[in-house]
Structures are given as C-alpha cells and as structure tokens.
C-alpha cells in the first residue's frame, strides 16, 4: 500500500519527432559503409573465443587459428545481416511498458554504469552499492523519461557477480525492460535463468524478452572472450544484445572521425554476423559511441567542442539494417546544476529524436558517467521533457485556433476570465523544475534544491509494483548460486 500523497509512476514518455533528419543519404553513407565491409574482409577482426571462431569458420569466414583473426567476406556479411531483425519488442515485466523498436519512438534511459554516489542521507561521496542501485531503480521506475532500465551505478559491494546482483536489483524495483551489463559465459547463463524466471518460461522469454544485455567491444577490432561468449548465450535464448563500441580518437581508433566510425562499425557488424550465424534472427542492437581523449592528459572527454556527426552513428548502423542506441549523452560536468551539465545533456536529448535512434541513454550521471546524485537525475529528467516537447506537433483544430474566443475578448481585452482559458491553461503552461515560485512570491527557487526535494520524495515514498514473491526468491537463489560458484 502506497502512502497517501506518494508519487505514482508517470506514463512512459518516449521521444518522438515527426521531423527526423537524414544527415547523410545512402550515397553519402557509402564511403563509410564500403570501408567497413572492406575492413572486415581484409584486415579482419579478432575473436578471442574458440566457440565463435568455430561458428564463423563453418560459415565460410577465413579464420587464422594462430591469431584468432577472422576475415569476413562481403557476401557472408550481407547474407547474415539480412537475417537480423530491424524491428522487435523489448518486453517488460509490465506489458504496458513493452518497447517496440522500429515504431518511430526513441526510448530513453539513464547513464550507466557509474561507480560513485553522493549519499543522499549523509552527503558523503562514496562508492556505489547494490542498495544504491535498488533505490535509483525505484526512481527509474517512477519517471516517465525512463523507458527501460540501465544499471545507473554498479553494485560495487557485490564482487565478481555484481552484474547479476544489478539485474536482481533491477527486477525487484522496476517492471520496465531491463538492459543488463552482464559479461562472461557463466554469468550470462545465470542471467538467462533469471530472465526465464521473470518471463515465466523460455518460450515466453524468446517471444517477449524482459531483458536485453549491453556488451562492449574492445577497440580496435577485438571481441574478447567474456563479451562475445556472453553474447552467444543470450543469442541462443532469444535475448537481444546491444553491442557498444567506444573508439577513442587517436588512441584506440584513428584520429579522424571517419576512421573511428569505420573501426566501430566493423566491430558491431562482426558481432551481429556471428549472432545471425549462431542463431538466425537473433535481435542485435548497435551503438557507436565515439569518445575522445584529452591530448595532454588522456582523460576522457564526453563532448569536445567539435563533436560533429553524432548523427552518423545511427545512420551508419541503420545502413547495415541494425537498430541503434544513439545520442548517448553524458557530461563531464563536476556535479549537478551547472552550465556544462545542462548544455552537454540537452544537446544529446535534442539529437536523439532527430536522428531516429531506437534507444538512447544519457541522463542522471555527472563527472563523465561516474557520479550519481539524485537531484541530477531530476534535473536531467526536466531537460528530457523539454527536448521531448520541443518536437511534439501542436493541434490546429477549431478549439485550438480559438477564433471565437479571440472575437469575444476583442482588441485590448484579456483572456484570463474566459472559460476557454480555464479549459486549456493547465496544459498550456507546464512548469519546469526551474519554475517553482519561492517564498517571496516573486522569484524562482534554486532548481537544484527543488530537484533534490523531488528526488528525495521519490526515494522515500515511491513504491514500485513488487515482483511476485516466488520469482523474487528464485532470483535470490540463482544469484546466491552464482556467488557460491565464484567462491568455489
């Protein structure tokens, strides 16, 4: 039973624009598309997995057993990718939160996976824990800007099986879709068992997967054993996998944007080919997150001044027939409520619906994806809704044009007392977190302070729909078994 006046779950509010931009048409993309295929065919990709090498070799790829290098003929790539679905469902424990990729919506989630929080009880900055993630997940469940779950922070107190503890925290505190960050074949098997328990069976998991997984590549041009063998486990179970590459200009990728895109795209495409060979029709999502190193210190920069062509990540993946996780946000700001935090986050939130990526991330963390503060999630949620509304069309029917009302008021009059005003004013002016009137009745309150109050209200009073007791118990048992296996 929820406390009186407790916050309730906001309806899912994905991004959508009727004004999607094509930055490059097919001809414009051709140099990158062709270069990617050529790279896969000539330079090739390393797969540090005998299982993956065997699948690829059997399908006709040129495998160098000594170096684990795989060269993928163009025809093999194109045939395999033709099996990859462009549209599919990311299921949720609550079916009303199912996400239909390819429907024109862009579904958002938080940044991840941070490693620190500012404790909202003590103000102490410290390493993140499973309990933190449970609390943050309740915020994710409440907010309409969050369409699917990411582990916003890591369960840093849970050791080698933290990734399983994270998805356990997820399912116990949200009924939205989970995208885990599970790596390694043993943990992936445990995760599939957990997902099967939540979905209500293997067939149901395949039909409406309540979980997907994010797996990182190793730039340049390498798929490590933990990542790719986890991917194969998920592919076999029908669990969608989102491969993410982070080519870093000048270090793990060429110092040119086009070169970095080619490296990133080759890694994603190679993984997708493997999935389609192993489990034809396996749902794969791609994400090319170009990152930058400060040339003096090698510190990661989220958004340098010249951050052009982020559109390209989505367009390039779409050209290979893969859904994209794009506009991945993030900020290098040191804490919430700053000019930098707002500027960097907002730019990405505006880009996402314009480039038409199916999924996006990017709200909640500061300090280059490291630090969670609850007020920052609310501030970013506010930016998200500003971006979302910027692309909504406005009605132009008779009621909205209001010519009869304008006629009745006449030149020099006012609309304050008109019934039409009363009927529409609550929708006409949606107040931002920055528009809470202060006690003097004249000035707006500090939005960071307002955001913190709202965040604490959710953290203290919001109660998500609980997981059925027997399922929750089964998840606990599976995680405990994984813990025990690690100890052995």
């Amino acid at each position: 039973m929820m406390a009186a006046g407790a916050p309730t779950r906001q309806p899912l509010a994905p991004l959508r624009s009727d004004f999607t931009l094509r930055f490059h048409d097919d001809a414009g993309l051709e140099p990158l598309h062709e270069a990617t295929l050529r790279l896969l065919e000539t330079t090739g990709m390393r797969f540090e997995s005998p299982q993956a090498l065997a699948i690829l070799k059997k399908a006709g790829a040129k495998v160098d057993e000594g170096s684990d290098l795989v060269r993928l003929p163009r025809r093999l790539v194109e045939e395999a990718l033709s099996l990859a679905p462009r549209e599919f469902v990311l299921g949720a424990r609550d079916p009303s939160c199912d996400l239909q990729l390819g429907s024109g919506f862009t579904y958002g989630t938080t940044d991840g996976c941070g490693v620190e929080v500012v404790d909202w009880h003590t103000g102490e900055r410290r390493s993140s824990t499973k309990a933190d993630l449970e609390a943050i997940t309740r915020m994710q469940d409440c907010l309409g800007s969050i369409s699917y779950w990411w582990p916003t922070v890591s369960a840093g107190d849970c050791g080698e099986t933290a990734q399983l503890h994270e998805i356990e925290a997820g399912w116990n505190n949200t009924s939205k879709h989970l995208m885990g960050m599970v790596q390694g074949e043993p943990l992936a098997r445990a995760a599939v068992e957990m997902a099967t328990a939540v979905a209500g069976g293997a067939a149901e998991l395949r039909r409406r997967p309540v979980m997907s997984d994010l797996i990182g590549t190793v730039s340049p041009l390498l798929h490590d054993k933990d990542g790719i063998e986890a991917g194969l486990v998920f592919a076999a179970a029908g669990v969608p996998v989102c491969y993410v590459t982070m080519p870093n200009l000048g270090t793990t990728a060429p110092a040119t944007k086009a070169g970095a895109f080619v490296v990133g795209a080759a890694e994603i495409v190679a993984a997708a080919v493997l999935h389609e060979l192993a489990a034809p029709g396996a749902p794969v999502i791609g994400s090319i997150m170009q990152i930058y190193a400060d040339p003096r210190t090698a510190l990661t920069l989220t958004s340098p001044l010249d951050d052009r062509c982020r559109f390209l990540a989505t367009e390039l993946l779409h050209s290979f027939g893969l859904p994209a996780l794009g506009a991945f946000g993030g900020t290098d700001a040191q804490g919430p409520g700053t000019w930098l935090a707002g500027a960097e986050t907002m730019l990405q939130l505006v880009q996402a619906p314009l480039d038409g990526c199916e999924l996006t991330t990017g709200i909640g963390l500061t300090n280059t994806y490291q630090l969670f503060t609850p007020e920052n999630l609310i501030l970013d949620d506010d930016l998200y809704h500003r971006a979302r509304h910027a692309f909504l069309d406005i009605p132009m029917d008779e009621e909205s044009l209001a010519l009869d009302v304008i006629e009745a008021v006449g030149p020099g009059g006012h609309f304050l007392a008109h019934t039409h005003t009363r009927a529409h004013m609550r929708d006409a002016v949606l107040r931002s977190v920055s528009q809470e009137i202060g006690p003097d009745g004249q000035h707006f309150r500090d939005p960071v302070e307002v955001a913190r109050e709202r965040a604490l209200d959710i953290l203290e009073h919001y109660r998500p729909e609980p997981l059925a007791g027997d399922v929750s118990g089964e998840l606990r048992r599976l995680v405990a078994a994984a813990d025990a296996a690690v100890r052995r």
Binding site: H418, R426, G441
Partner: protein
C-alpha cells in the same frame, strides 16, 4: 448548506452557489452570516491553493466571479452602511502608464476576497486618486506601475494625500513589475504584493 456554498465557491460552480445563497437567505441567514460562514471562507481556501501553486489564476477568477454573483443577491438585503465584506479599495495605474492587466487582475481577486473595488483605470493622476478617496472613502488605495519612468508618480500621490490631510484615513498599496518591497518602504507605502495573490493577502492584513 454553508459548507455546500463554500464548496461551490471553491469549485467555481455558479449554479450551485446561487441556489445555496438563495436557500440560505430563505432560511433567515443574514448577509453578514452568509459572507462570514460560507463565501469568504471559500475564497480563503482558493487563495491558499493559489499560494501553494495548486490553483491557477483563471480558476481563482472563476471563483471570484461566482462570489460576486452571490453578493449581487445579498446587496439589496444589506442594511444601509453595511459593507459587502471587507470594505472598499480604489485601484488605478499611475499617470503616464497604460498597463493594466496586472492591476485588473488584483482588482478581480480583491473582489473575490470580499472587497468592493473602484477601478479608476489607467493614467490616473495623483489628484484623481485623491478625488476618489474623498468620493469613495476607501480603506485602501492601490497604485500600479509597469514602467520605471512612472514609478515616481506613486510617491507624488502619497505626498498629495498628506497635503490634503487624508494620509491617515487610507492605507496605500503599490505593485507592478519594477516595484519592490524596498521601494514601497522608501516612499512610505503601507503595503506591497510581489504577485496578485500576495497583494490580496496584504490587503486583508491591512484592514484586519
């Protein structure tokens, strides 16, 4: 029945409010009782909701208009000299200034709070305000200005009230975008509201 009338004021439900007012009159309730036990408490709730940000200005205005419609029933029943609620307020935008939406809004909310409002319009000179004080004997005059260039006319009016020996007979409130509490104190005004709702609260304090 008082509770139903109070709720009708809060809801801005004119049909129910008028019916309840007439029914209360029929039972022998005096206009003063109806004001004090239903109409004004209803507007108090609306005012509080406005302060809390729950109630929007158009909704407050609706309640105020319903309140006025009820007062129209009660006025003929009032004894001579009995004020319809809180007393009279004379309001106007000062000389040289044509902005009046904020001033009119305050006027409507004052009416809703039970004040009788005499609205002198825009471009009101100091002598116009003084003449209105003599004619209507208000408890408060309210001056509005939106331009920094017209602000000095507020202090001119206060000076003229003093010259005419009327300053102690009437409270002076000022408001408008460039007006601050400090400015109000500086020119010797009695009250200032940062927004329309706060202006009404201050007016009630001044006559309370």
């Amino acid at each position: 029945m008082n509770d139903q009338l109070k709720q009708a004021i809060i809801d801005g439900n004119e049909a129910v409010a008028l019916a309840m007012t007439q029914a209360l009159v029929a039972t022998g309730a005096t206009p003063r009782e109806i004001l004090d036990e239903a109409l004004l408490p209803g507007m108090d709730v609306v005012g509080a909701r406005m302060r809390e940000g729950e109630c929007f200005i158009p909704e407050v205005l609706l309640s105020a208009r319903v309140m006025q419609a009820c007062l129209d029933i009660l006025r003929p029943l009032m004894a001579a000299g009995d004020e319809a609620g809180m007393g009279t307020v004379v309001i106007g935008t000062v000389e040289g200034d044509l902005h009046d939406i904020g001033k009119n809004l305050v006027g409507m909310l004052l009416q809703g709070a039970g004040f009788t409002v005499v609205n002198l319009g825009t471009g009101v000179t100091a002598s116009d305000f003084v003449a209105a004080v003599k004619e209507h004997q208000p408890r408060i005059i309210g001056m509005s200005a939106l331009l920094t260039t017209t602000l000095p006319h507020m202090s001119e009016t206060i000076a003229l009230l003093k010259d005419e020996g009327l300053r102690d007979a009437v409270k002076v409130m000022i408001g408008g975008a460039p007006v601050t509490a400090a400015y109000a104190a500086e020119i010797g005004a009695d009250g200032y509201g940062a927004n329309a709702g706060m202006a009404v609260e201050r007016a009630k304090e001044l006559v309370g």
